[in-house]
């Protein structure tokens, strides 16, 4: 193999599994260490820079970082990832004054005007990144307040309104011109105003319906899940029947059923077509529903709504079983037997959402594909109309808040580049830094010891309390001490093992000491051969091999990054400091931190 080019920031970035997996590439281990040091304000600001909504995300993030977390694979058994998401909340809960650390307006206008359609996390991110550069930002939303789905969909028992308001206001306070209660009927009209660019962050606002017999007759008690949740959030709906069926197996279904439990639903059941294990909902959302005594009935396909004398009585279902063909494709096959009837006073349909752009005229140079989705560039987020950008759920369908934020950052960069007349495809490089952590023979500037604590569980408020008050937050968050202990579980994957070939005397000390057999000295070979020639075969192909230049014995040092604990022992045992532990800081450049801000 060719020697690894560690000057390419993407090499070490990939070693930081959590940060790499985070759509916004939040410097996770850095903020976790700050939490351990009780530097909550600094930890919050690292997050705020990257993901804009630390308090919101510390409660609600989909956490793609956690399945990626190295901790989850170091013992091959029951070791669980670091509770990255809930640690973020510890920073948000305990922070001091952060406002003074944020950009403070008024900003010198640069003469450019931008319209943002929809006030969800994607648009709000664009607003935050561009406002400090002097852009005049106009934010439109049909709702009465900003936040998008974070406000209308995510229930208050998961995300208190105060937390959301605080973080939305940090952005609005940058001098954003808000146009709430304002539905944008025509993009053409918006474009005809003198905006230099328009960002479409309108989300995927249309809930799928279920067209089966009885749908029309029972309409009064059959609700589209996301509309119903929005009505609850904006206090148009305060009650639901005693018996409730929720259809669907995703997170929306979980929010619907748990909300129904709080609005008078005593017997709330989730009914889903697929087997339990294949439901789309995150495991923790399913656990929370189970904890609130909500049964999940799987393998039941809805057949009809049963309506008697104009009143909804329940639904019938056909029982199925999942069969898989040789390509693993699933088919739901009826098991036979009579249909199953389940009683219901109300039914909530949570079987998916879609994009819908009735307000975008099709003659504006914005190309749509055969699924009626706009063509959006994956790097620049530009549409085929050079002034119009998309991001968040509006770009490629429903995802999550952190993805919307990541899109927002990139769209903001593109808008800024465009307004400055520069090429959109030349993206700003990330900010990177690599600094030795050595302080003494056995002393590092980071906590190198690897603790064996199991993942801590976030405490919850008493069920009696939370079920009687829709706004009572269920999770209490870690306290400072548990937060510290959980933070200590982090392996500091950003503290990189850096190897200098010409210092190595090939004494084998690192090979001998490495607890997880990461390091080998061997003849060089192709990657596939090399992977099997190591002290332990490197079977995880998603993890890179770090290969040195040729050593005096004609061999190479090969390190399998897969289960490195970043314990620093290799560097401690190295007599010549050929190994060193160096802190790698990688931060995605945002529009307001990039070159433009220094011009």
């Amino acid at each position: 193999m060719k020697a690894t080019d560690i000057k390419d920031p993407e090499y070490f970035h990939k070693v930081v599994d959590c940060q790499h997996a985070c759509p916004a590439h939040t410097p996770v281990p850095e903020y976790i260490r700050l939490i351990a040091e009780e530097k909550y304000t600094e930890a919050y600001m690292i997050n705020w820079d990257s993901n804009v909504f630390p308090g919101v995300l510390g409660r609600t993030c989909d956490r793609p970082c956690e399945p990626a977390c190295r901790r989850g694979r170091i013992d091959g058994k029951d070791e669980e990832p670091v509770a990255i998401c809930r640690l973020k909340r510890v920073a948000a809960d305990n922070k001091g004054d952060v406002k003074s650390l944020m950009p403070i307006g008024p900003f010198k206008p640069n003469g450019k005007k931008i319209a943002l359609i929809g006030a969800g996390p994607a648009s709000l991110t664009v607003a935050r990144d561009l406002a400090p550069l002097g852009y005049e930002i106009h934010l439109y939303d049909e709702q009465k307040l900003g936040g998008g789905f974070m406000r209308s969909q995510i229930p208050s028992f998961r995300l208190p309104e105060t937390v959301l308001n605080e973080e939305v206001n940090y952005i609005l306070d940058l001098g954003i011109h808000t146009h709430f209660n304002h539905y944008v009927k025509s993009l053409k009209e918006t474009l005809s105003k003198d905006y230099d660019a328009v960002f479409v962050g309108s989300g995927a606002p249309k809930g799928r319906d279920l067209d089966i017999p009885g749908r029309k007759d029972g309409a009064a008690n059959i609700h589209i899940g996301i509309n119903w949740l929005a009505n609850v959030a904006f206090e148009h709906t305060a009650k639901v029947g005693k018996k409730v069926i929720v259809l669907g197996g995703g997170n929306t279904a979980m929010d619907c059923c748990r909300t129904a439990r709080r609005l008078g639903g005593d017997e709330v059941k989730v009914v889903v077509r697929s087997p339990f294990a294949e439901m789309k909902a995150s495991p923790w959302e399913k656990e929370d529903a189970a904890h609130e005594d909500i049964p999940i009935i799987d393998n039941h396909v809805p057949k009809s709504f049963v309506v008697e004398n104009g009143v909804l009585k329940g639904m019938t279902f056909e029982k199925v079983t999942a069969e898989y063909d040789k390509d693993g494709k699933r088919k739901l096959v009826p098991v036979g037997g009579p249909d199953v009837f389940i009683e219901a006073d109300d039914v909530l349909i949570a079987v998916g959402q879609e994009n819908s752009f009735p307000w975008i005229e099709r003659d504006l140079g914005i190309e749509f594909d055969k699924w009626d989705m706009p063509k959006v560039d994956e790097v620049t987020f530009a549409s085929t109309n050079s002034k119009v950008f998309f991001g968040g759920d509006s770009a490629w369908g429903p995802k999550n808040v952190i993805t919307a934020v990541a899109h927002g950052h990139q769209a903001a960069i593109s808008i800024d580049l465009m307004c400055r007349g520069e090429v959109l495809t030349v993206r700003p490089s990330p900010y990177v830094n690599l600094v030795s952590q050595k302080m003494g023979i056995h002393e590092w500037a980071y906590d190198s010891q690897v603790v064996t604590d199991k993942r801590y569980v976030v405490p919850q408020a008493e069920k009696k309390l939370t079920l009687s008050d829709r706004k009572k937050e269920v999770e209490l968050g870690f306290n400072g001490l548990t937060g510290f202990k959980e933070a200590e579980r982090c392996l500091n994957c950003d503290i990189q093992t850096v190897f200098t070939t010409d210092k190595c005397i090939e004494c084998d000390a690192c090979v001998d000491i490495c607890p997880t057999a990461c390091i080998s000295f061997t003849e060089n070979a192709d990657e596939s051969d090399l992977r099997s020639m190591l002290k332990m075969p490197a079977k995880n192909l998603t993890q890179d091999l770090y290969v040195s230049d040729i050593l005096p014995t004609k061999r190479v040092m090969v390190k399998d990054e897969n289960v490195c604990l970043h314990c620093g022992l290799c560097a401690e045992r190295c007599p010549t400091s050929a190994w060193d532990m160096q802190k790698f800081f990688y931060n995605v450049t945002k529009a307001h931190t990039g070159c433009a801000s220094h011009k």
Binding site: R73, I74, D75, G76, K77, I441, H442, E443, W444, S448, Q449, V450, T452, I505, E506, C507, D508, A509, V511, D512, I513, P515, T516, A517, M536, P537, K539, P552, T553, V563, L565, C567, G568, L569, E572, R573, C574, P575, T576
Partner: protein
């Protein structure tokens, strides 16, 4: 700060026949200097014991004094251990072995511990053919007492403070062959591919097995001009052959061409496989082994690998005809036959 090793090990570590992964054979975290050759030898011992499916409680590790003699703390924590006085490991090993012949005895010593203060004990334990493995971690100096030249420092070798050694060095391997050791090998701490099979074959050897391992002292004897530095050894190392040890009942997979290859079958059916044999050398012949050592020394070469082995070796217990049962398991009744028997014996002697 790290003074402890993390508990986690590679999740896919294979198990040996006893169901142990290699970490079961580890010891405490080493306190030797970073990069000390001795640590590599410890790692070799751990690997060998794991591969040999040693039941840890059936092995005793013994040592004298020195950095080298500290290493038994850093491997096989589940085994018996005795850290004796400077140069006196052989007598403790002899006593232990006589009392309980059922254990595997593993002695670790240094060049100071063996070739200076312990020389008397060393030569006699060889003569007596004690069934043990005796490893010298040879760095040409007294590491623990800050690097004074030892008796194995080569004439002309320069130490860290620039002084040149005036005296002839003691060649421990030739001495061992001379005195009748039935397994003699030489190796380098930086070459585990060679060292691990040698340790395995030595552990399996039914007599006195000696391995002299060049093991650089990074702190006091790794300077320019030293003949025991990593660089010097790498540049001057030669090998008798490549070694593989195949325990009994195991199929021999690798076959080599005639002339360059030799299988030495031991009494218990295990095989030492030697390939790429050097010319004019016969591992079964003491004379040829001595010649090989002397010839390479004349060429300034450090000859490593197996030097000499006698597959028909016998040990002390065999020679003095002790009981097959370990002495420490014999009861008072068995050891003390009573006054009647005594008078009978005495009568015979009249």
């Amino acid at each position: 700060m790290t003074y402890v090793r993390p508990k986690f090990r590679h999740p896919e570590l294979p198990k040996n026949k006893l169901g142990y992964t290699v970490d079961y054979y580890e010891g405490a975290l080493s306190t030797l200097c970073a990069g000390c050759g001795h640590d590599s030898i410890s790692a070799g011992i751990i690997q060998a014991a794991y591969e040999m499916n040693i039941e840890p409680h059936k092995l005793a590790k013994l040592s004298g004094i020195g950095c080298s003699s500290k290493t038994p703390a850093y491997f096989l924590s589940n085994s018996h251990g005795f850290n004796s006085v400077h140069g006196r490991m052989p007598s403790v090993a002899t006593g232990a072995n006589l009392a309980n012949r059922d254990l595997t005895y593993f002695g670790v010593s240094g060049d100071g511990d063996t070739a200076s203060i312990g020389m008397g004990q060393f030569v006699h334990v060889i003569r007596r053919a004690l069934n043990m493995t005796y490893i010298v971690m040879n760095n040409g100096c007294y590491g623990l007492t800050k690097g004074q030249d030892s008796a194995t420092a080569d004439q002309g070798s320069k130490n860290k403070s620039g002084n040149v050694n005036l005296f002839e060095s003691i060649d421990l391997a030739s001495l061992a062959i001379e005195l009748g050791a039935t397994f003699v090998a030489q190796s380098f701490s930086g070459d585990k591919t060679q060292l691990v099979p040698l340790i395995k074959a030595a552990m399996n050897h039914p007599g006195f097995a000696f391995i002299n391992v060049i093991s650089p002292c990074v702190t006091f004897n790794n300077n320019m001009g030293s003949t025991k530095s990593y660089d010097y050894v790498r540049e001057h190392v030669g090998a008798t052959a490549t070694v593989d040890f195949v325990p009994e009942m195991q199929e021999i997979i690798v076959e080599y061409g005639k002339g360059t290859h030799k299988n030495v079958t031991m009494h218990d059916g295990s095989v030492i496989q030697l390939h790429k044999l050097s010319e004019d050398w016969n591992p079964l012949d003491r004379q040829s082994a001595m010649n090989a050592v002397i010839n390479s020394k004349a060429k300034n070469e450090i000859l490593t690998g197996l030097l000499y082995v006698n597959p028909d070796a016998h040990d002390l217990h065999h020679m003095i005809k002790t009981s097959d049962k370990p002495l420490n398991t014999l009861t008072k009744e068995q050891l003390c036959p009573g006054s009647e028997m005594l008078s009978e014996i005495n009568a015979d002697l009249r």
